[in-house]
């Protein structure tokens, strides 16, 4: 699907999201769901923190030698009879996919979950070229029939409830009896399973993403719980892997280190149900598997990111932990970010990929609480990078003048956390004592823009940072 980029309207999107009661209910479940499960998985593995260091180091090492590992990877894929294609832009990738599909006379194409597929807006393009793409991950399938973008990189339909999904199924699965019962999640799943089973068996080409590529062996791998990725890549005669250049790691041991932190950070599972390592097309003795195996490596701005302040972002393994733990994501959800990558990782990555003019303000959607960095399995300094973007946006004079001068002061303090905490605390206390009697200010110096339209609530005596610290201290206590 191609969805218009709505990142520039973050504020409006966020405003809408805050009014959406259903969305708010769904977002409220993240804390007791994914967040609690991640914490428990991390606590059950004494080596978890050291594995995070290891994962970070592996990615750093690979990025510093990326050209060489990609060459090695390509060599191994070729040796096994597979094909590697290089795509400089999203458009290149779409065209390569189409060419392969056309050569295979493909009419139906099944797709496993791929964020790269979303990034290059593949489905819309295939449809325009008379090829029917079918998303097979349950969440992605629902997103596709609704013609929406995913609102989370791990749980694409986090924003929907079962009633909405029932409505969609009734609208789209018109050949099924009207009187059928599909109120409960289990019934919805059973229906999707039946409908998609036919597609799996009918597809001419199967497209998957890749969580990692292994240079040592020319292997691509996917991690799923549903088994849809495996059916997608095993049944059709052609398997296409959509990957980006930073997915490569050196060896099977290295990828095992990465896998130990991925599922635990994403869903809090010890390991996902299916981890599948694919190397080349079916061998001559094989009785199943695809006859052709293609990998398309996408750059789309990533090689340029290697040069500067945003290189660390290329360590990202798309686990979603940063958004699960983000108070801003938790308040507005994924669609507010206006493109395919939401949350803190999206706020850093999106401006690199679609341009600072369209998304340079996304990094402002942060409280700088640091929770994302605390949980990121590859220790990406997300708050620091959001600050880099803010500075860049400032330098490019994209912000109005008043924001700029305020930001200068703010960034001076923000770069000095102790001072920031001290002054913010001081300000809070001062305000609190000034407004003690009424509990609200109708006017404040320098804040006319705010108090003209609404009262400024009197601070409750604590800054966000100190409150956060206390809360975390409380959480850590058994």
């Amino acid at each position: 699907m191609s969805h218009p980029i709505k990142s520039p309207q973050f504020k409006e999107n966020a405003h809408e999201a805050l009014q959406d009661a259903q969305l708010q209910k769904a977002l409220g479940k993240i804390e007791t769901g994914a967040v609690a499960r991640r914490r428990s998985a991390a606590e059950h593995l004494p080596e978890f923190e050291r594995l995070r260091d290891s994962a970070r180091d592996i990615k750093n090492h690979t990025l510093a030698h990326l050209d060489l590992y990609l060459e090695q990877y390509e060599k191994r894929v070729n040796e096994q009879g597979g094909h590697v294609h290089w795509a400089v832009t999203a458009e290149d990738m779409r065209q390569i996919v189409l060419d392969i599909c056309k050569k295979a006379n493909a009419r139906i194409v099944t797709k496993g979950k791929s964020m790269i597929g979303e990034e290059v807006a593949l489905n819309d393009f295939l449809e325009k070229n008379n090829i029917v793409p079918v998303e097979t991950d349950l969440g992605e399938y629902i997103i596709q029939i609704r013609n929406e973008a995913p609102s989370h990189i791990i749980f694409p339909v986090l924003h929907l409830n079962k009633e909405e999904i029932e409505e969609d199924f009734r609208r789209v699965h018109t050949n099924l009896p009207v009187g059928r019962n599909i109120k409960e999640p289990a019934e919805l799943l059973a229906e999707a399973r039946t409908v998609l089973r036919e597609k799996f068996l009918a597809a001419d080409v199967g497209i998957t993403g890749a969580n990692f590529l292994v240079a040592e062996t020319g292997t691509s791998l996917i991690v799923t719980n549903e088994g849809n990725g495996d059916l997608t890549q095993t049944l059709p005669k052609v398997h296409i892997v959509l990957a980006s250049i930073e997915k490569v790691v050196p060896t099977l041991e290295d990828v095992s280190q990465m896998l130990r932190v991925l599922a635990r950070s994403a869903t809090g599972q010890e390991i996902s149900i299916y981890t599948t390592f694919s190397t080349g097309p079916r061998r001559k003795e094989d009785v199943d598997g695809p006859g052709e195996y293609h990998v398309i490596l996408l750059d789309n701005g990533r090689s340029a990111m290697l040069a500067g302040q945003f290189r660390d972002m290329l360590r990202c393994i798309r686990c979603g932990a940063c958004m699960n733990h983000c108070p801003v994501y938790g308040a507005v959800g994924g669609h507010a970010y206006g493109w395919v990558y939401p949350g803190p990782m999206g706020a850093v990555l999106t401006p690199s990929l679609i341009g600072v003019d369209k998304a340079g303000h996304l990094p402002n959607a942060s409280t700088f609480c640091g929770r994302c960095e605390e949980v990121c399995p590859v220790r990406i300094p997300l708050p620091k990078m959001m600050r880099h973007w803010r500075e860049r946006e400032f330098e490019r004079h994209l912000s109005p003048a008043t924001v700029r001068s305020g930001l200068k002061v703010w960034s001076f303090f923000a770069l000095r956390p102790t001072l920031y905490g001290f002054f913010a605390g001081l300000g809070m206390n001062l305000l609190a004592s000034l407004g003690r009697t009424k509990g609200r200010f109708r006017w404040l110096p320098l804040a006319g823009g705010w108090t003209r339209y609404r009262d400024f609530p009197v601070p409750q005596g604590e800054t966000f940072q100190s409150r956060w610290k206390n809360r975390q201290r409380a959480e850590k206590k058994p």
Binding site: D67, L138, K162, P185, R193, E216, P250, Q269, D288
Partner: protein, 224 residues
């Protein structure tokens, strides 16, 4: 300039490298040759019996079921019992794996055993694992005519036979075995790590068992 040269050129420009530096090349070759192991969780260390116990606990947590058999002679009766317990027809599909072929299927007169990959019409299939990993309760299967990959994903019920002696403590031990068997840098077409029956939590974050892959996963561990 080809897309390949453009991408590699751009990477090298960003890294300030030419791609011909001896040092960088050696670092990469060395890592590929040595494949250092990194951090390995202690929990997988332990005797064969402890590894079996940990494997069982972990995979049961992910909703698989496990039976321990004394010998591969017990496979046919265990399969029949499992099918009966699920009210399934007495039919099972398998690949050409000799360890499965040699089981005394004739003992189960009512059980019909067919051979080959799945085309989606089979309700139940049986595969032999290449090994397993105790650390996370993970089965390791490799593709080939012995155990076709489709048997692990298309049927609604999957049974996997595992030799207790092939339960390793960690993933790395399995990679060592695979390197030894297939050669350096060579992998079978597909290696599947399977750690439970298929599931999804996409609808309202409710965990449901049985998504697109098998609804049930039953492991028969042969512990001689």
């Amino acid at each position: 300039m080809s897309a390949r040269d453009t991408v590699l050129g751009s990477i090298r420009r960003s890294l300030g490298a030419s791609g011909n530096e001896t040092m960088r090349g050696q670092t990469v070759d060395d890592r590929l040759a040595r494949h250092p192991k990194g951090i390995i969780p202690k929990r997988g260390e332990g005797s064969k019996a402890e590894r079996l116990a940990l494997f069982k606990t972990m995979i049961e947590q992910a909703f698989a079921t496990v039976s321990i058999l004394k010998s591969s002679d017990e496979i046919p009766s265990a399969v029949a019992a499992h099918l009966r317990s699920k009210n399934l027809p007495m039919e099972i599909r398998r690949g050409e794996d000799a360890r499965l072929a040699n089981a005394p299927w004739q003992n189960e007169k009512t059980l019909s055993v067919t051979t080959g990959p799945s085309d989606g019409k089979q309700l139940a299939a049986i595969s032999h694992a290449y090994g397993a990993v105790a650390e996370t309760g993970t089965l390791v299967l490799v593709s080939g005519p012995e155990n076709p990959t489709t048997l692990s994903f298309l049927p609604e019920h999957h049974i996997v036979v595992l030799d207790a002696g092939e339960i390793e403590g960690n993933y790395e031990a399995v990679w060592d075995r695979i390197r030894e068997k297939y050669g350096r840098g060579i992998m079978p077409r597909t290696v599947n790590w399977i750690s439970g029956p298929s599931r999804t939590a996409d609808i309202e974050q409710v965990l449901l068992q049985g998504a697109h892959g098998p609804r049930t996963l039953h492991v028969l561990v042969i512990d001689k």
